[in-house]
Amino acid sequence: MSTLVSVSADETPARRSAAALLWRRLSRNVVSLAALGLLAAVALAAVAAPVIMSYDPDAPDADRALEPPGYRHWLGTDLYGRDQLTRIVYAGRVDLLVALEATAIALSLGAVLGAVSGYRGGWVDQVLMRIIDTVQAFPSFILAMGIAAALGNRMTNIVVAIAITHVPIYARLIRGEMLRIREMEYAEAARTVGNRQRRIIFYHLLPNCFPPVVVQATLAMGFAILTVAALSYIGLGIRPPTSEWGAMTAEGASYIVSGEWWIFLFPGLAIMATVLAFNLLGDALRDVLDPRMKGV
């Protein structure tokens, strides 16, 4: 009996948890660290905005209109004398929030559709995928524009518009993973043990479909920000006086000729830097998650 029961806990050294491994590999790459740092800074600034920003983003100050970047206003002021730096940080909250919400909704809906579609197959799969195809057939920005125009400029509607255009990506991704995973033996084991189908799909299999989705979601966040910025730029997005990077860039466009370059440049840079950071993070995650951690 001793040889059987004496499986000591020392037999395999407990390997590091998945999260620790993930962090280790991420932190090796300078670029991904920089991206993470930047995103962390943006997020932190966004959250702490009321505390760290001394100016009121909406309060006009006619004396200080159109001031170039300087000691008192680091990024200058706009036509109404509002501090640009403060506005950009507050705008960050809006943009990030919209991107986050849109991604979360799209992910949830796409996951359910993709999971059911992939596991069930048959006519369920066909019907759902044709619906997804229809949505995907529209150029995503045009579709977002259409929905935003139809529903109106409120933030909720913009979130919905962006979310809808993103659903197909997640649905397909998860469906693909599901097609692969449902053939694995632990999917069969979940059946033999006596689980109901719903639990098999959502408790056992769906969580294992997530690694590629995490990468996609990170990249999509960047894209969502671009979309809301573009929508606002053409006037279909967030309405003033709420500050938003795209709207601010649009405002600033009319001042390029007259020489007040700081009004469009900094919001534009903010968009670019944030989207770039998301992309870099997504790439880094893809490298890390891809072969080493399959199944974790």
Partner: protein
């Protein structure tokens, strides 16, 4: 074998089971060709008995296992677990009956959900089928983990933190947690390294002895089958060609296929050179199977009569063969 005093009760009866997979034909009105993976198999496993099912790849043994568990629906035939027809059960009733019918899979890594700890994996069947809750359930999980030789310290480990042998033990623990009437084991040691194989085999033997487990043991590894099984059935191209008590089968194999199979096994002894019964060619596709005996094209003992349907004859007590010639 009938239920009654002093007589062995059959835990499992497989009655003329058939599993044909139709191939999609390009011509829609013609009868589609079929892959005849399992083509009329009848077997019995007595309570507490271990039946070994051997055969090479493509013989249908894994498909048969999945039919028994109704993971796929057989095209014909019945599967009786304790006299209850599983093939006729509606889905919910079948799901509940799974408490008594469990499976151990071949690949220890792929058969565990990477996101569930060992304890969570073993706990699930208990949660689904027993009334145990909370502390009582956790205690039972620990008990089962001990039974398979995994210390309680490993209960919170995830599959990637366990070795291959430990994963297979978790697999086994999950299967025996609800004390099922029948455990189907599909090549449970094939993916294991040589040194681990012995431990798992001994574990299975011990569980069988201590808990009175009934096993349907599927394998292509004849030496493991010899060690663990009471009776053995040999499959080829979807049918059972020979059945006998284990010792009898290995000492007096009758069917040419069984003899060929046994003679191919490399024994770890350079002086043992078994007389090779050589089958010519390769295993034909299970799609267009010729009538009569399926071994006909390859068998050195083939005769014209082998084109006729094959009778199943009992040549010794408990020893049946499907062959015209022997």
């Amino acid at each position: 074998m009938r239920r009654g005093e002093g007589l062995v009760v059959d835990a499992l009866v497989i009655d003329d089971l058939q599993m044909h997979f139709p191939l999609r034909s390009i011509v829609p009105w013609r009868e589609p060709r079929r892959v005849r993976a399992v083509d009329g198999v009848s077997l019995r496993v007595g309570a507490g008995e271990t039946l070994g099912l051997v055969g090479e790849s493509g013989c249908g043994k894994s498909t048969l296992a999945r039919c028994v568990l109704r993971l796929i629906e057989p095209t014909r035939g019945r599967v009786l677990l304790d006299d209850e027809d599983l093939t006729a059960l509606p889905e919910e009733a079948l799901r509940r009956r799974r408490r008594d019918l469990q499976m151990v899979f071949q690949d220890p890594t792929a058969s565990l959900n990477p996101r569930l700890s060992a304890a969570a994996t073993v706990e699930e069947p208990l949660a689904l089928h027993t009334g145990l809750t909370g502390r009582a359930r956790r205690a039972r999980v620990d008990e089962v983990l001990e039974e398979v030789g995994l210390g309680a310290g490993l209960r919170d480990r995830y599959p990637h933190q366990l070795s291959g042998g430990q994963r297979q033990r978790v697999n086994i623990a999950r299967a025996i947690a609800t004390r099922p009437r029948l455990v189907v084991l599909d090549e449970p040691t094939s993916a294991l390294d040589v040194s681990l194989r012995a431990r798992v085999i001994l574990l299975l033997a011990e569980l069988k002895r201590r808990l009175g487990m009934t096993y349907l043991f599927i394998s292509h590894d004849l030496s493991t089958v010899r060690y663990l099984c009471d009776r053995v059935a040999v499959m080829y191209l979807g049918v059972v060609v020979e059945q006998a008590p284990a010792a009898e089968l290995f000492e007096h194999p009758a069917h040419p296929y069984t003899r060929a199979l046994l003679s191919c096994i490399p024994e770890p002894d350079p002086d043992v050179v078994p007389e090779r019964l050589v089958l010519s060619g390769e295993v034909p596709s299970p799609i267009d199977i010729p009538g009569g005996c399926r071994l006909r094209g390859r068998c050195p003992l083939a005769q014209p009569v082998c084109a006729e349907p094959v009778p199943v004859r009992e040549i010794a007590p408990g020893h049946t063969v499907a062959c015209h010639v022997v």
